[in-house]
Symmetry: C2
Subunit: 327 residues, 2 copies
């Protein structure tokens, strides 16, 4: 089978690609399928991948029909991870609309034109929620996103649902909690702090956290989100029912508890590299996000949360830092 990943140079895209190549197959509702081709599309060329003849790396605009048409033509599975992140989409409305809304539409249209009904597995986000919220939220919660990014993610979910209902794709939208620990530099996602406050100190760098220690967060590890994207391919349409959207489960804690786990792995030196300087814009966005999710849908469908922040951080050190933390 041919698998296309948009946002293929992003940290989840690259790790999903490595996992798929390592597995050699992807299990769909029809059973395990050998992977013959894996295309990674992103604005920049994906790096950090093994030398494997099945990989094709494409740099270009994932919202450009002329580019994506031929890439999608023989695709059996499309992982749509490409997105302009929350703060960037809020600052540059046209950029966010172009990539997050029109890009998703263009990709769905390209899939529809193939007539092959590819699996279409999209990254959505807990940013779809907003306004007055119950204690725990999930697919049964009405969506009032309070960011343009969240609005674009909701619209994407509705498009995936209707394109699936019409038989143009076989879609799934996974609402991601805050994914940690993201490697690389801090970025313009409002959730960037949750990774940075672990990664930067463990790599020997100071970090100023823009939200106070008592801030609650809901975390999902990189390992588990990759598991979830792989697992999503195996579900039957019947199991999904009236919507293709799934809220992935997460682990709820405060930033202070994350700092405690950081200390267990990185010691006092790591914690000492952290300081706090609240930034109103980030706090406003983060406060709007729910931190407790219902699992009445995700658990029976087989999606799993992590067990502890310490384990998440230990896995990050093993996977991304070659087991080494700064002294």
């Amino acid at each position: 089978m041919h698998i296309l990943i948009t946002g293929g140079a992003g940290f989840i895209g690259v790790r999903l690609a490595r996992r798929l190549l390592s597995d050699n197959r992807l299990t769909t509702a029809s059973g395990p399928q050998p992977i013959s081709k894996l295309t990674l599309l992103d604005q920049v060329a994906a790096t950090g991948l093994p030398n494997d003849p099945r990989i094709r790396i494409v740099a270009g605009n994932a919202a450009d029909p002329a580019l994506i048409g031929p890439l999608v033509a023989d695709a059996d599975v499309v992982y749509h991870l490409a997105a302009v992140v929350s703060v960037a989409a809020e600052h540059d409305f046209d950029l966010g609309m172009g990539v997050n809304l029109h890009g998703t539409l263009a990709l769905l249209e390209a899939c529809r034109k193939t007539g092959r009904k590819p699996l279409f597995i999209k990254a959505s986000s807990a940013a779809v929620y907003g306004g007055p919220l119950p204690a725990a939220v999930g697919e049964e919660t009405a969506l009032f996103p309070q960011t343009s990014y969240g609005m674009q993610k909701v619209v994407g979910e509705h498009l995936v649902d209707d394109y699936s209902r019409k038989g143009f794709v076989d879609g799934r939208s996974l609402r991601l909690p805050t994914i940690v620990v993201r490697p690389g530099a801090p970025n313009l996602a409002a959730s960037s702090f949750a990774s940075s406050l672990v990664r930067e100190p463990l790599m020997g760098r100071a970090y100023v956290c823009p939200v106070p220690p008592e801030t609650p967060v809901c975390l999902l590890s990189v390992r588990r989100v990759v598991d979830s994207f792989v697992h999503a391919a195996s579900l039957t349409p019947a199991a999904l029912g009236h919507t293709r959207a799934i809220q992935l489960p997460g682990l709820t804690m405060t930033v202070a508890e994350m700092v405690g786990a950081l200390g267990e792995i990185g010691g006092k030196a790591a914690v000492a590299r952290l300081s706090f300087s609240p930034q109103a814009e980030i706090i406003t966005i983060v406060k709007g996000w729910p931190v407790r999710f219902t699992t009445t849908r995700s658990a029976p469908l087989g999606f799993r949360a992590d067990t502890s922040a310490k384990q998440i951080i230990a896995d990050f050190v093993a996977d991304e830092l070659d087991g080494k933390v700064a002294p």
Copy 2:
């Protein structure tokens, strides 16, 4: 003030225009504003309007930026009623997407470009609901539309919410129940039967109803929906809060009860012109629509339902049939 109505040749558009011209003013959150210009945009030229120098009738594509840009340039209020109706949008996916989704986007973009933050009052629909539903639905209900029309209406609501939050427009989306009694010929709206089963017999014509008598419906009269569009302009953003979507209240009854009211106004002769021949496609769509709505939001905001089917039908006879029914 300049008011633009898209779908201005449609039955609600024309009746809203007549009402606005008759009122001479529209009350916004800033108070009553005299109406100096009223533009009616539709694919065909609007008819049935008084001879009034304030009216400008434009025939053209409401999704064409080159056409709508100049029309919106000095608009203070945009009533966005243009839409491809439910069955038509289901049969021709591209047509529905073009008008209902891309058309709404183009109009919102045109409004944004003016920098004048016009009032943007959009017709949404109870077709936004679907999937498993509580006994009564409203803005707090999660939306799982099961038609492309419903999906496009949900997307429109989210766009209106976010364009309002960003300060590009001052939006309101009114979710309409089934509007009765629509004059003219039966059309491709799945709800068309609710008007036809009253209008056709009263005009002396036979009508074959595609849903059985026990079918529940939720009705709002033409008078009340026009009231609602006028009233929506007067609300403050603060009163609307975290979403600009409002579920309009309706009157719940069965088709059989409608037929009873038809008999009270039109006599046995009218009822005798009705017959029933269930059509699966219409029944499937109509069954997915909720028929009981919460009024926890609409009532405090000042929106009102009708009092009886008999009154709705009597008003139709007075307003559209010059008080005369077929013997």
